[in-house]
Subunit: 436 residues, 2 copies
């Protein structure tokens, strides 16, 4: 390594030839810099999937945590089990009762957010070149993990009921005919991120039937299940088959994302591998944040807290849909989520969500362009709108601003023809926590 490589401010990386193959594709998304701008308070961000933790009862939580430290500090501040605290694992069974999952505490692995559970599942199952089937579109953070393990991600179409079973079967057949090894079907059946769609009970059964017939693991990512606005909690796919499904849950959306406490429920052999992989990766999840969750669940009316979040997000969903109905130009369509955080919007012909983003940010509104939710360049005409964090008035103002930007773009497009918009930059799938 020569000295000139290491002079201050040099962007040359002397280690460039030393990285692993898997690191070559790790690049910061070009839209990242824009999101730094978009985090300024004057911008209405419909981009990030940040839960509205401001609604938590802070005094109560402060007392809860202080009590945890005073009563059980030496345990809460110590290393713990690689699989997670056994009391919390029992409480998680109770939480999962709502989605119909019946399991044993031994089946549960607590992780540093369910993102880490996802990472561990892929680590345990996927060789470079293995195929993972995902919805179209799919969660940007999952795509980032699949790519980090050099998987080939293949998108399967969705309709208004979610993943299309016939398309799933055909995709599997085609890939296997080509000699490909498929490792799993990754699905977000309830209040999908980013599509805002929920699989019906019948659809879930059909997807499970395909998985059983083709002997493929289902990786069921279910962080939003308790946040359905009509009060119905969709039954998990895992509730109907304990052997074919790894189920992922999270306290990020029902309590606090900053604690980073999620979990996986897995068949016996898989669970053993996940624990060993978790121990290699982090030794153990934080006993302290697990203790905070556990103490909260044990001593506070946590279901009321979830109810209160649900009411907040329902109001915000209503504000979003109402203002979209009012302001969006003709040719625009969007999903009408029955829960969760997101609506998926399709722009009128001639508009490109990635190319439009800088203009939107200039007009003080931000969203996530659709291309981030695909690995294959799809999604230019789509964008994800999150209604979880801004209050209803801000959401309405954000939609007004977005509509203004779209109108201006459409005018350019109709004057100079489709394609007059700037060519959109490549949007890599690197997630960034603000896009979760």
């Amino acid at each position: 390594m020569s000295a000139e490589h290491s002079r201050p401010g040099s962007r040359l990386d002397p280690w460039i030839d030393a990285y692993a193959d898997r690191a070559v594709g790790m690049r910061a998304s070009e839209i990242r810099a824009l999101f730094a701008v978009a985090s300024r308070p004057e911008v209405v961000s419909l981009a990030g999937g940040m839960p509205y933790v401001d609604a938590l009862p802070l005094d109560t939580l402060a007392d809860t945590v202080a009590r945890l430290i005073r009563d059980r500090g030496p345990a809460a501040l110590q290393y713990g089990s690689g699989q997670g605290d056994v009391i919390l694992r029992e409480q998680i069974l109770d939480v999962m009762g709502d989605v119909g999952v019946v399991a044993h505490p031994d089946d549960v692995v607590v992780t540093t957010g369910s993102q880490m559970a996802l990472d561990l599942v892929v680590r345990v199952f996927c060789n470079p070149g293995d195929v993972v089937l995902v919805e179209s579109p799919s969660y940007v953070g999952a795509l980032g993990i699949f790519q980090a393990y050099e998987c080939d991600v293949v998108h399967v179409p969705m309709d208004e009921q979610g993943l299309v079973p016939e398309a799933l079967s055909e995709t599997i057949e085609r890939l296997r005919r080509d000699g490909r090894t498929i490792k799993m079907i990754y699905t977000i059946p309830s209040f999908h991120n980013p599509a805002g769609i929920t699989q019906s009970a019948q659809r879930r059964k059909e997807v499970l039937d395909v998985a059983l017939r083709e002997n493929l693991l289902i990786l069921e990512d279910d962080p939003y299940a308790l946040l359905g606005f009509d009060g119905v909690v969709p039954r998990a796919i895992r509730a109907d088959d304990a052997d074919q499904v790894v189920y992922l849950g999270s306290f990020s959306k029902t309590l606090a994302s900053g604690l980073r406490v999620g979990w996986a429920v897995a068949p016996h052999g898989v669970r053993e591998k996940l624990v060993l992989a978790a121990e290699a990766a982090v030794l153990c999840p934080s006993n302290f944040t697990q203790g905070v969750v556990s103490e909260f669940l044990a001593t506070q009316p946590w279901r009321e807290q979830v109810d209160s979040f649900r009411d907040i997000y329902r109001d915000r969903r209503d504000a979003l849909l109402g203002s979209l109905d009012t302001h969006m130009p003709p040719g625009t369509s969007w999903t009408r989520p029955a829960g969760g955080f997101y609506s998926w919007l399709t722009l009128p012909e001639g508009l490109d969500a990635t190319a439009m983003l800088p203009r939107a940010v200039s007009a003080l509104v931000a969203y996530v362009p659709g291309t981030g939710f695909y690995v294959d360049g799809q999604g230019r005409q789509n964008l994800r709108l999150s209604y979880c964090f801004p209050d209803p008035d801000r959401i309405r103002e954000g939609v007004r601003r977005l509509a203004g930007v779209m109108e201006a773009e459409l005018e350019i497009s109709s004057t100079f023809g489709t394609g007059a918009a700037l060519h959109s930059p490549e949007g890599s799938a690197t997630p960034g926590p603000d896009l979760a």
Copy 2:
């Protein structure tokens, strides 16, 4: 998958053929079951590397955390930066001042314990089959990570000054002659786990010189640096070269392991990759536990807390060494650590630490057999003794019990000849948080 595979209680794993290559070697250590027994209160455990967090001022900490939630709850409970909180990264620079590391907050990546920083570095650098050079013995948790990424771990001899530079050079030359790709030198220069050895300043310079000459990255793992018993903090290798070294630090041993807050300091290009890998793995470290550390550093006399831990561990080190001097049979030797948590003991000829462990646990004392700290079957005559957690009287009692077991073993060995001990089982390198 047939139904008989999934019947309750079956140990057959229907997914056995679906795992990634990297998961094939993931097996629970056979000594693991023993450690479950060893965690019973009547057993003196000289096995685990658990810091004595019981010495923390719990009331103060409870107040600190309650204040964090009341004053900055919405931020502390929210998703944060993938790189970690910028205020904490500035405070980490202050902490690292003691080991001579000068850096910019941008150079720091906060992780879920420094174990995760280690995982990320290997993820970013190592393809399957790449060589990692490690000390002989080396940290069991690092070996677990290297194996999880299918690296070839090659041990380099240590002497009483640590890693031997001549042996390091020769090993590099030999491996390169064989066409091998070496990715890094992994070293724990201060108060080594498990060897209890500290590299002198001259030795560090020599190791760095080899790395510079051979253009190899040094991965410097430094969680114990502030816990030197004579009050001198060894200067980090990273203090003398910012480009050749990735430095890992941790609050697990100086504040609380249960918070899982560690960090890496890396050259610019490497740091960018680490942040992207971290975002894929966990989105972001816990804002909440980072906030706890940050608030503690900002408002409490944290250096006094470290001083107090240092005094506690010095007393325990003295108790261990004093009772080893008194009770160990002839032919036994051990290192005399100047800081940290561990002494490395070499048994008299004819004794096998792994084979002896069940008898030790029956005699109500536990240790970690030496084989866990090697990937190549070395270490049968060695064991690691941790003095960090039990109080001095318990340590003395534990050493008395251990000496009794050794005397009994030696008698069998002298009566029936060397090798009369049970053949020791294979000890896999899977760490387990209790062995950290």
